[in-house]
Symmetry: C2
Subunit: 178 residues, 2 copies
């Protein structure tokens, strides 16, 4: 950490889910530069495996991409420091209507290391128990169950591009199904 160090951090804008800061960085040669920093509370996501070995996926419209995506169930922490496994359990039930009988850690992912601190805890859920979907007012999500191999084909044909979903499904494949 001698090559570059942060000498200032200034809040530019508090957003709905992320806050934007401008960092002033100083380099070993004495030059300085302004870098972007986006602060995020953190999140959790779930590879939910049915008793038949299928994976639960959610389809929703993503404003940032201006299209629908197919993703594993996920959501942001309620607050900084909420245990990620609690968030995973809650978001799985809210989005899919299934409770996890078991939740095992699979991966920790930093989504965008160049400018954001977001960290997603990814879990594998099994022994699913039917419950009830209860979405937020501004959430509209359809739930589907897919064979893992079908999802892998969708990754390599670029039909699934969501980073956490790609990483999680491949990690599940390599750890449990190869």
């Amino acid at each position: 950490m001698d090559e570059v160090r942060r000498i200032n951090r200034e809040l530019v804008h508090k957003g709905a889910v992320v806050d934007f800061y401008t960092d002033t960085m100083e380099f070993a040669n004495g030059h300085t530069a302004k870098w972007d920093y986006i602060e995020h509370k953190g999140a959790a996501a779930v590879v939910a495996v049915t008793d038949e070995g299928k994976i639960l996926m959610v389809r929703q419209y993503r404003n940032a991409l201006e299209r629908y995506t197919l993703e594993i169930p996920a959501g942001s922490l309620d607050r900084v420091g909420e245990p990620k496994i609690d968030c995973a359990f809650r978001e799985l039930e809210e989005e899919t209507g299934f409770r996890a009988g078991t939740l095992e850690p699979l991966l920790m992912l930093n989504t965008t290391v160049a400018f954001c601190n977001e960290l997603i805890g990814i879990f594998v859920a099994k022994d699913l128990i039917p419950s009830r979907q209860h979405l937020d007012e501004d959430e509209f999500v359809d739930v589907y169950a897919y064979e893992l191999e079908e999802l892998l084909d969708m990754i390599y044909s670029q039909k699934i591009t969501d980073g956490k979903t790609v990483a999680a499904l491949l990690a599940y494949k390599v750890k449990y199904a190869s």
Copy 2:
């Protein structure tokens, strides 16, 4: 796209690499809400495989995480619309000092679909040709070569958490090495 639609987008701040917008969304029930939107030019990243089958990795300090990370070589597009394969070729050479003899597409990843449009094109580079590392003034990167299996262990033990790196190495494993 009937459940939710964007009725306004306002630029809040132009950053060094990303721009922050506030979107006004309208829901089917007539309610509205402010959502964050971060605009990014796009990026490319490379799984660079040596003739011995090792993978080139870069170690660098990440201000957003306040720690060093181990990642595959990557960088942002020079401009919106730059072909991602050109960016991949350039960033590989700049960061590692190796030119790609061949570059094959592997994945397309949206890093953070909830609030950012960033799309990373990930390629596999082979037939590497020694050249010269030439970093930007504010880049400090060390290069290492690892066995794939060693990197997979680092993913599952949470020593590697960078999303694009996790997805790319697992995708390479499943497609080429399992």
